[in-house]
């Protein structure tokens, strides 16, 4: 049996991800769809700093110290790095439930709700969990078909559920969530420092040379908004809250629950948010998808091999509490043992190893190559 040669273009998982994100650099960059305000941010920062470097730094370097522009450059580089990191990274998007999981959850909900009379609205889909002795309600997301983990929320702009959702920031062109919140905070903090720095040396320059102070005014207004934002997020971090929770008033008010995630200690809260572990992305954007005509899910598990090879299979019926009797509902086509003809299944089985392939059960490379 000769080796099966695959020469088609590789499809990566990011191309099939639902949601309204845009991807660049073959899945390495992930942003929201509307990027206009992000370009404005870039323009403002780069523009302001260029003016500063062009018009004020030569004078300051000569008359005061050359360290002034050097420090400004370092700060500028840090600001840009944090901005790009915030904008381009996955904020902590939760992938949508695959059909089996969605069915399983539906069964659980139906079992929990019991019989709903026709014409009556079914009760809202809420799960109560106890976290640190507080009752927290988990809401069901109808788009993603999952019960959202605590602190997760669905972003309507990006059409994704995001873990530890803070807010959708048009200035960075992305959601701010678990994975990129610290970069966002460092961006606002360093931008505040940069703005204060430029503002201070503007004033020095104006005083020393008696030049036009128009530039100073621009800096003044920018300064207050950016410093204000930094102050607000510092307050949120110290209480271990998200913007989303603050706006909704989840933990404020007498009759409401207290924040179960706060350590009641300013230092500990800051450390958790800023020095916590760097969470990996669960999206696997650059993983390679199965080359298959009927493939619709970025699924590397066994089920997809079997699913893809049975063209007329019924939808996978997931676990139903009382009635499951082990009847096989999904059958693999006649592909089985080695040493036999596998031409029917070989094009469907092929898959090159995904770069991030931690799972041993991922369907491996074609094995008939050596037969």
């Amino acid at each position: 049996m000769s080796a099966v040669m695959i020469t088609r273009k590789v499809t990566r998982k990011w191309e099939k991800l639902p949601g309204k994100n845009t991807f660049c650099c073959d899945g390495r960059v992930m942003m929201a769809r509307q990027k206009g305000v992000f370009y404005l941010t870039l323009f403002l920062i780069v523009g302001t700093c260029s003016l500063f470097f062009a018009f004020e730094c030569p004078y300051l370097a000569v008359h005061l110290s050359p360290a002034i522009p050097v420090f400004a450059v370092l700060l500028f580089v840090f600001v840009m790095a944090m901005l790009l990191r915030t904008s381009f990274s996955d904020p902590g998007v939760l992938p949508r439930a695959l059909p089996e999981e969605a069915n399983f959850i539906e069964m659980e909900i139906e079992a929990a709700n019991g019989n709903v009379l026709a014409g009556q609205r079914p009760p809202p889909r809420i799960k109560n969990v106890q976290i640190n002795n507080q009752i927290v309600k988990l809401k069901y997301c109808y788009t993603c078909k999952i019960f959202r983990p605590p602190r997760a929320s669905h972003c309507s702009v990006c059409d994704n559920c995001v873990d530890r959702f803070d807010h959708h920031c048009p200035w960075v062109g992305n959601c701010v969530g678990k994975r990129n919140y610290r970069y966002f905070y460092l961006f606002t903090l360093s931008l505040s420092l940069l703005t204060i720095y430029i503002f201070a040396f503007d004033i020095v320059h104006v005083v020393l040379r008696s030049v036009d102070s128009g530039f100073v005014l621009v800096c003044f207004f920018t300064l207050w908004s950016v410093v204000g934002l930094t102050g607000f997020h510092t307050y949120l971090i110290s209480l271990n809250q998200t913007t989303n929770e603050d706006i909704k008033g989840s933990w404020s008010g007498k009759n409401r629950v207290q924040n179960p995630y706060s350590h009641r200690n300013f230092i500990k809260n800051c450390c958790e948010v800023l020095c916590g572990p760097t969470f990996p992305s669960v999206l696997d954007r650059r993983g390679v998808m199965l080359e298959d005509s009927s493939n619709s899910t970025p699924d590397a598990s066994a089920a997809s091999v079997i699913k893809s090879s049975s063209s007329a299979s019924a939808p996978m019926k997931s676990l139903s509490p009382p009635t499951s009797n082990g009847q096989p509902l999904e059958k693999a086509k006649p592909t089985s043992e080695a040493g036999t003809q596998k031409s029917a299944s070989s094009p469907k089985e092929e898959k090159s190893f995904a770069p991030k392939s931690p799972n041993a059960v991922a369907p491996a490379v074609i094995k008939e190559s050596a037969h």
């Binding site: 572990p277 598990s301 066994a302 996978m316 096989p328 799972n359 059960v361 490379v365």
Partner: protein, 180 residues
């Protein structure tokens, strides 16, 4: 008894494959053949346990659907070990501070060169799951999917039935007879 036959079949096939000089590891063959000669009957989803907050932790409650397939203690051991791995990955302590500060000083470029401690633990987890699938779950006709493939929301356990034992699974011209 049928499961023993299944494993026998797997070993024979595996020998053929090794002789043929396939580059794949033995374990992949075993697991893939399990899938081919068995049919997927069910999937069980182990949900997250949020009682300790947002850290990644799975419920150790034994699902009734696996009652006849695997011993309770083995299942609980697997889930507890996974929970321990995740707790290790998400631990906030000296090492995470050092990593965070160092990364911040290098403007997070250091992550282009080294992998984060979380990623290291994820690799350990996938090796552990592979190991468990080979030794414990595979022989019982079960298959664990790494939670990272499901967004760390659930542990998906696929339940397979031996095709030879289910009467309606015809069409497989190469399956050896189940009447032995």
């Amino acid at each position: 008894m049928s499961r023993v036959m299944l494993i026998d079949r797997l070993l024979v096939i595996d020998q053929l494959c090794s002789v043929a000089g396939s580059r794949l590891s033995r374990t992949f063959h075993n697991l893939q053949e399990l899938r081919h000669s068995a049919s997927l009957a069910n999937k069980v989803f182990i949900q997250r346990d949020y009682t300790d907050g947002t850290i990644c932790k799975f419920q150790t409650k034994f699902p009734s659907e696996l009652d006849s397939r695997i011993e309770r203690t083995l299942f609980e051991d697997t889930v507890k070990t996974l929970n321990n791995y995740y707790a290790e990955a998400e631990k906030i302590g000296g090492q995470s501070y050092v990593e965070g500060c160092l990364a911040c000083l290098t403007v997070y470029l250091i992550f282009l060169c080294i992998e984060t401690s979380y990623e290291k633990v994820l690799k350990k987890i996938s090796r552990y799951i592979q190991d468990q699938n080979e030794k414990v779950y595979g022989p019982r006709g079960l298959l664990i999917t790494d939670p990272i493939e499901r967004g760390m929301r659930v542990i998906e356990i696929s339940v397979y039935e031996d095709r030879g034992s289910s009467g309606s699974s015809s069409g497989s011209s190469t399956t050896s007879s189940s009447g032995r």
